[in-house]
Symmetry: C2
Subunit: 358 residues, 2 copies
């Protein structure tokens, strides 16, 4: 199951087996939707085995009317179907220099699927959120013990909170991915989809929805999946939220050989959080000159945009450095250099790749 030096499982690059972490070889990017079997897998604990017909989720906490709902009842509610790009907050981590701890993701801890499910707002409205509420915790069935800091007795479940406003706006409880049931490794039977946020917030194997009247300070947003934000010149640990604007090159891939004096299609994807991608530029000379690429299809909120460019390769053989750079409708673009306050996350500075013209 290896291809060159890279170990593969079901065609995906293995970044960890216990727990299971798999990424899509990003050069396989083709259509707008990532096939379910190619979608990256990010787990922190053993994958929970959940009987769909025995599944239910509680809506509780700062609500007037706490209730539980099972799978069958969930499917009876009005649903929506939307394409959403999910990116792991540590995507591209293997490019950091010096190396940092954490799963060494390349380019493929990102993908776009069409998710069908029930808006979280339907459930919150039914539960009647109290006036003093501010956040909603989404808790998964996945959990275990932590060593540093040592977790308290009992299983610590993966959980994340989102502001009530965001929870009402566009969060989904998804039970379909690209038209089929969710695979076990992607959150079966029901997961959250939090559009525009790094995917740690899109809780898989959802088991509880807890409305809170005070901000949540759980491990996976206080210590893990946090970055250093500075206020008044003081660095604070701050939960990761929105995806940062980014373009990635799918083909040619790093180290690939392309013919000299030819037309070569360079293509990839670009995404951002609020707003939409308005421009992807490509440099084929290490950043000296930039060319605007062709954005394909129509923009869709919180989903990536594919792009392509016909590169007239030079006549002379040699290495060429390709760099893609995205800009969004809020005027944000990718930084040239890495901001070390971001620690091991939110990696969206320019990532040059080298190809050989021959």
């Amino acid at each position: 199951m290896t291809e060159g030096s890279q170990k593969l499982i079901a065609g995906k690059i293995v970044r960890g087996e216990t727990p299971l972490n798999l990424e899509m070889p990003f050069q396989q990017l083709e259509g707008f939707l990532t096939p379910t079997e190619s979608f990256y897998v990010r787990t922190h604990f053993p994958i929970p085995s959940i009987d769909r017909d025995a599944w239910w989720v509680r809506v509780e906490g700062a609500v007037e009317n706490p209730f539980a709902i099972n799978y069958e009842q969930l499917l009876e509610l009005q649903s929506v179907t939307v394409p959403v790009t999910l990116e792991c907050a540590g995507n591209n981590r293997s490019f950091l220099d010096p190396k940092v701890k954490g799963v060494q993701w390349g380019l493929g801890a990102v993908g776009t699927a069409e998710w069908a499910g029930v808006p979280l707002s339907s459930l919150l409205n039914r539960a009647r959120v109290k006036a003093n509420a501010c956040e909603v915790i989404l808790e998964g069935a996945d959990g275990g013990m932590l060593e540093d800091p040592k977790s308290p007795p009992g299983k610590l479940h993966f959980a994340r909170s989102i502001p009530l406003e965001k929870a009402h706006a566009d969060v989904l409880l998804a039970y379909k991915m690209n038209g089929g049931e969710l695979p076990p490794q992607n959150g079966f039977p029901v997961r959250a989809i939090v559009p525009g946020w790094y995917a740690m917030a899109s809780i898989k194997w959802l088991q509880r929805i807890i409305v809170m009247d005070e901000p949540f300070t759980g491990y996976y947003q206080t210590i893990d999946y946090a970055y250093w934000r500075r206020r008044e010149e003081i660095a604070e640990l701050t939960p990761l939220t929105e995806v940062q604007v980014k373009a990635q090159i799918a083909k040619p891939a790093e180290g690939e050989t392309v013919p000299a004096n030819s037309s070569v299609r360079v293509h990839g994807a670009a995404w951002t959080s609020d707003g939409e991608i308005t421009k992807v530029e490509l440099s084929t000379d290490g950043g000296s000159t930039w060319n605007e690429t062709n954005l394909m299809g129509q923009p869709k909120p919180n989903a990536w945009r594919l792009w392509e460019f016909n590169w007239q390769t030079p006549a002379a053989p040699g290495n060429q450095t390709l760099i893609a750079r995205a800009t969004d409708s809020l005027g944000r673009t990718q930084p040239v250099l890495r901001d070390p306050d971001r620690g091991t996350y939110m990696i969206n500075h320019l990532l040059p790749i080298t190809v050989e013209v021959r």
Copy 2:
């Protein structure tokens, strides 16, 4: 400089040299005030060397009138002098079983001094705190780099926040300890005193006072000096704040020999946060029977109360187990067993000691 197997510096037990951590041998407890030279020392970084005449502190952030004040100007303001007990949040950690990481404090990371200084409220009033403010960060001049999580570039200073209400109530900027200047290791020239809270909040080598309109999530309250608090069955990392009710036995000490069939004075100290100590009980038979001890002096808010008991030792030689138990005016008493959610901090469960009757 060793006494038995214990290394001493200036008569204090060495719990760490880099950074410097020293505790008072608790059996030396005598008067209500701990002599300055016996007071425990807790540092996280090298001790800052500060020129008193060049020192100043800024009051800034969510205030209408940010300003800086120097040492001379601070001394011109109205001051108060109060005894306050400071206890390290990890005091008694060496008694935990199984062992946990952190400085292995015995009984002596606690002490009471008379602190003279200016109420923080004077400075906050002069700065005119904005209506949306909620907290005050106190930042020390001590700082350095962290490895896990890796701190951002630049020095990370020791800093802690306190709610505005507490900041206004009784927090002091202290420049005298037991009538003299603060020693360098205790925060010279100016430190905060936050009565009733574990001493991590009483920032030494104070250099900034920053009013915030959003809760602070700095390292020393988000990761370090935090415990697991449960809401809705979910464990969250929560900053340590108030001292927990506790009594400690000073003499006889663990392993000490006392004469049979005699009157032996057992004494120690007890403290709590809000309210006052109303009762200290002592068991000399491992917790089967309890005797009320004599509380000495008058109760003072946020300072310990000394207590004593005349123990008629048994006629027969053998080991006896002594346990002290404090109760406060809010009806709180010490738990028998350790709550593991408290991690490496807030250790106030009953701690038996064994003495030999001979």
